[in-house]
Amino acid sequence: MRPSTIDTDILVVGSGAGGAVTASTLAAAGRTVTVVEEGPWVDPDALDPFSIEEMVAKYRYRGASAALGAPVVAYAEGRCVGGSTEINSGLWHRAPGDLIDEWRNTYQIDEFTPDTIARYSERIEDDLGVSRLPGAPPPSSAMLERGATKLDWRAVEFARVFRYEASGRGTKQTMARTLLPRAVHDGAEVIPDCQVLKLLHHHDRVVGARCRRHLDTGQDEVLTINAEHVFVCGGAIQTPALLQRSGFRANIGNGLKLHPTIKIAARFPHPLDHGDVPMHRITEFSPHLSIGGSQSRRGHVALALAESGTEHTEAMEDWENVSIYYAAIRSDAGGRVMAVPGLRAPIVTYRLTEGDLSRLARGLVHLGEALLAAGATELYPSVTGAPVVRRPEELAQWWAAVTRTNANLMTVHMTSTVRIGEDRDRTGADSFGRVWGTANLRVNDAALVPDAPGVNPQASIMAIAARNCDHFLAGA
């Protein structure tokens, strides 16, 4: 049996996009690295990608968490070795250069230029494998392209963190398949099923962490890990919650940003594919809103049709002809993460503005236009009681249908709860992620991204994390 105390040089809390970059970079530099991951180590090939079974195994609370507010925004986080990279669509989008400039100026972030971030992005792209689908897109993705072409809107087939075989079969390059095995090869230890309860500190130095580890025997043990340096990489919800539980509160957990997302289950007169996620995005309305496709297995279709709150028995019987699409907005609002003593889960709040709600309604109308143009015959929006639309003349009814009480919203992109920069009034960590007021406690995940980027944030998270690791190694 493992001793209940471990000594290490570098403790990395969390194994997602931020944690995996941190662990692999520091292990490759010869440091002694220990990664703890709250979730299980699931064989990446054991479950069908984008399936409900995968959701149950790899998501926190089986995918059911919610940011409180009106409307509530449901959110999903990975809780497994590899974090959200195991369950996301793998779309790869570098942080837009103009946003990098804006963030640097707003928060006074040192050594944070479009060139720097692009250089790190490129390194990770070469490393992981980022590519476009060889050959024709699957029908669910082609529908977005067809709708956009009919309306003369811009659409892009995004590259993904995928490697493709000669046969065309693709494998998502998740952290459990790439950087984490490499970190282990370079000597890192990865401990799954191990939740950090609290960081231990003496004055401004963090000395380690107290953890609860779930053993194969079914028992739990308390594990103490002593470390010289701690990197918290639990994502924009769990990271601030852990910091708050450990007594670090200044500008930690406020300023939560996310991309509120509204959906349509679209019925076509022909079958669509259900095993992948569309790689096309309609970019005509960026950066305010973007349009894309979601996972659409049978269970997802059932959930999406139910969210319309209307009669959908016939559409469900025809589920192979139904696919789910979304409109995601950049939101003016902000939210908060609050760890509450006695509660295991932090309380997350997010209050949409009137402008946000309007943008969601606009996104729904534009998405509806695209899907009808692509040949969809019935559109079920994720808005309780909203009319099912079959013709363009009916779309305008959705402006009034999208309200605080009726809209069913979700998000998978949470950021900005520990922003970086030298403006100490508005940031929780310095330009390289060291938590203000501490000597050796760093954050290195989505929490650092200063604002919701309007696109999939994985590339931004990984590039910023790699940059911070280099800074750490240069200074240590």
Binding site: E354, S358, R359, V365
Partner: protein, 359 residues
Amino acid sequence: MTEPRTAGAPTPAGGSDRDATGPPRSVITGAAGWLGQNLVRRLAGDGRSVRCLVHDADEAPLLELVGRDAEVVVGDTRDPAAVDRLFDGVGPATVFHAAAVIHPRNGTREFFDVNVGGTQLVLDRARRSRARRFVHVSSNSPFGANPTPDDRFTEDSPYNPYLGYGQSKHEAEQIVWRAGERGDLSTVIIRAPWFYGPYQPPRQTQFFAAVRKGRFPLLGDGSNRRSMVYTTNLVDGLLLAEAADVAPGRAYWIADAEPYAMRDVITTVREALAAEGLAVSSRQLRIPAAAGVVAERIDRVLQDRGRYVQALHVLGELKDTIACDIGRARAELGYEPSVALLEGMRSSIRWCLDRGEAI
């Protein structure tokens, strides 16, 4: 505004197939509005063919009266099908986008739905119909109030949106800029302050009546300045923006020659009322400038919760200096305002009286 409504095809009119060498066709949203009615009449008077979007079916006859070259489409800018009808077969035209909500009846959400969502749909259809130019009517509200009493906004002043209306007009400007920068179509932004002139809405008649009875409040000493624009001057600016080669990708302030001190606005309106033969009360309601500050605070709290109270909003803005410099429009468009306050107010008052409206 009410629910988006659907309506039939454009009303038939004789001028749908204009000579290709003639002046460009024009498409006007918000055509039954204060500015829209002035613009449509000018264009029709110049022999131009106009396609008008009006919100309510009972507004259509107002514009059909204008002439045989005015076609009217009834619909809402938020309705993709209505905007499709507006642009159906219209060809390369000038689009004057004047439809917007300034005093919403159903809460602040309407600002964003109409002013941003409607603008996006009209822009999109303008692009797809290969419009030759898109002239977007904007406002001072994306810029807030001037920081000092002597300051005047130029086209380089920073954005500082004032509450819901200002935020929505700011976002609308952003999507118009982006369409221009991406090369989707040739766009010009015209920023207009407080209008006055014929075809005014009932709230302006109420303004005249309040001044006449001495009940329109003067905040503090009334030395704060306001730029205003007579509708004829504004229409001049729009037509210059349509034609000038330098205009695409630019924004212009269009206003009367100089901003007016608020107390001079009231004095001039009283003078205009008297000159049109109306008895004017000798009283003048004065309230402390602090009342405007309080009103703005309450307005802000309410708008945060999605609510809009017109009287509070107007009172909150009365204390501010909102003044702009028309130097760029003069230099680049050759704009020269031909009407100033007394003459413009007199003709507005006459317009009310001619229609039998009580002031």
